[in-house]
């Protein structure tokens, strides 16, 4: 099976600073790979390399078998859904216009866009008749984040990139959205997702596989159950967070 996204000996610098050191990693169609790590571990940089927001200083990031440096980045990005913390919604667009953005850029006919937007808003639990015409500032954080997910799914991209999408939410809303993400993933079938988080509980809940990054290096790669049994120092450091919660 050929991987859908493939990191081949990828190193990356942000300015002068080396953020990733010869990372090699394959992501297969249909899986949700969670990149777990502390702040500064390089996980967000790795994610941004998939849609060409950051380009490798050496090595290749292949998407669909083609290096990001050879892709038309506009085309690559339009078929890659992207969700970030605080959603990054356009404050001057209505919810409908935010969700329908990529379809519009792709030149869909307006009535198709409207149908798609309504469908997505219902899917993420925001009744369109109530929300379509509102502006992002009129929504709660959790609602904005749902809109962010809907926007990323709008043009039905095969690949989703999520950068701590639920990081800024209160714990209760976070759990709600994690559940919804799992439901969505079941409903979406063969969608590939790369999910960045520093929350080990979230990683275990959402990931079909977990990649643990530390100081720009991959320290662990495997399924959630293997992660729980793994012996590496950084894995243990993350697992302690779980023990602590149990202890309390």
């Amino acid at each position: 099976m050929t991987p859908f996204v493939s990191f081949r000996n990828v190193s990356a610098h942000l300015g002068q600073k080396a953020v990733l050191h010869s990372l090699s990693l394959d992501i297969y169609a249909g899986e949700t790979l969670v990149l777990l790590g502390r702040s500064g571990s390089g996980k967000t940089t790795a994610l941004k390399m998939v849609n060409g927001l950051v380009l490798p200083t050496s090595g290749d990031v292949l998407v669909d078998g083609k290096p990001t440096t050879a892709w038309d980045l506009i085309a690559l990005r339009r078929r890659t859904g992207y969700v970030i913390q605080e959603a990054g919604l356009f404050p001057h667009f209505t919810i409908a216009a935010n969700v329908g953005l990529v379809p519009r850029l792709e030149g869909w006919p307006p009535q198709n866009i409207q149908v798609r937007v309504h469908e997505l808003l219902s899917q993420v639990g925001l009744p369109p008749e109530q929300f379509a015409a509102r502006y992002p500032r009129q929504l709660s954080g959790g609602q904005r984040q749902r809109v962010g997910v809907a926007r990323a799914l709008a043009a039905n991209p095969p690949l989703l990139l999520l950068d701590e999408p639920f990081g800024a939410l209160d714990p209760v809303t976070r759990v709600e959205l994690q559940r919804q993400f799992l439901d969505l993933r079941r409903g979406l079938g063969k969608k590939t997702a790369i999910f960045v988080t520093h929350d080990v509980r979230e990683a275990l809940l959402l990931g079909t596989r977990i990649g643990l990054l530390h100081d720009g290096r991959l320290r662990f790669l495997g399924g959630p159950s293997e992660f729980l049994e793994a012996k590496g120092e950084e894995v243990r450091a993350f697992l302690t967070c779980l023990d602590l919660k149990r202890g309390l």
Partner: protein
């Protein structure tokens, strides 16, 4: 008040407005694109802003004087006045265009790029709309200053309400001074209010 004076006030006010409008139109069409360019070319920023800053610090009467001996741009008359007014108006427009665009939430800009917007779409659909308020505020500051500074244009034969003021100064005639100063102040107030209204009207957020 004699009818002749009223007539002259009207005439010079129109001349004053003309000076200001032409200068503002030129300044805006130079400074807004330059401001946009500077957001894309950080290394040019200090040079261009430095130039605009220096222009702003030259005392206005002196600037009009400096321009007189310069060929094409300078000389006596209206167009020299306009050149000087343009130089004055550049900085606030330039600076506010730059601040407005750079002030767009990085998360919003990043998601625009990540959604696959082209450079042009990013500018027209995201950056400029979100910077509208700040850019218009720059135009407002520039307009109000230009209306005031334009009174000095009369010193080099540029016409406008300054004609009254200089005549009033020369003949120590308060009526003439006021005939220049009051309409200039009223025009400035109206411009300030009008552009403020436009700011609230046009800004999408």
């Amino acid at each position: 008040m004699p009818g002749g004076l009223m007539h002259e006030i009207l005439e010079l006010s129109l001349e004053h407005l003309f000076l200001v409008l032409v200068a503002m139109a030129i300044a805006a069409s130079l400074a807004i694109p330059a401001g946009i360019l500077l957001t894309r070319r950080p290394f040019l920023r200090s040079w261009v802003l430095g130039f605009a800053n220096v222009m702003q610090t030259v005392p206005s009467l002196a600037l009009f004087g400096f321009l007189i001996p310069i060929p094409f741009l300078g000389g006596i008359g209206r167009h020299t006045a306009i050149v000087a007014l343009v130089l004055y108006a550049l900085l606030p427009i330039l600076r506010n265009t730059l601040t407005g665009i750079l002030g767009v939430d990085p998360a919003v800009r990043e998601s625009a790029v990540a959604m696959g917007m082209t450079e042009r779409q990013l500018l027209w659909e995201v950056e400029l709309p979100l910077a509208t308020r700040t850019i218009l505020a720059g135009l407002r500051i520039a307009a109000v200053t230009t209306i005031g500074t334009a009174t000095i244009a009369a010193a080099i034969g540029g016409g406008g309400l300054g004609v009254f003021i200089f005549r009033g100064l020369a003949s120590i005639d308060t009526t003439l001074l006021l005939a220049g100063a009051i309409p200039a102040a009223l025009i400035a107030l109206a411009a300030d209010r009008g552009l403020e209204w436009l700011e609230n009207r046009l800004s999408p957020v």
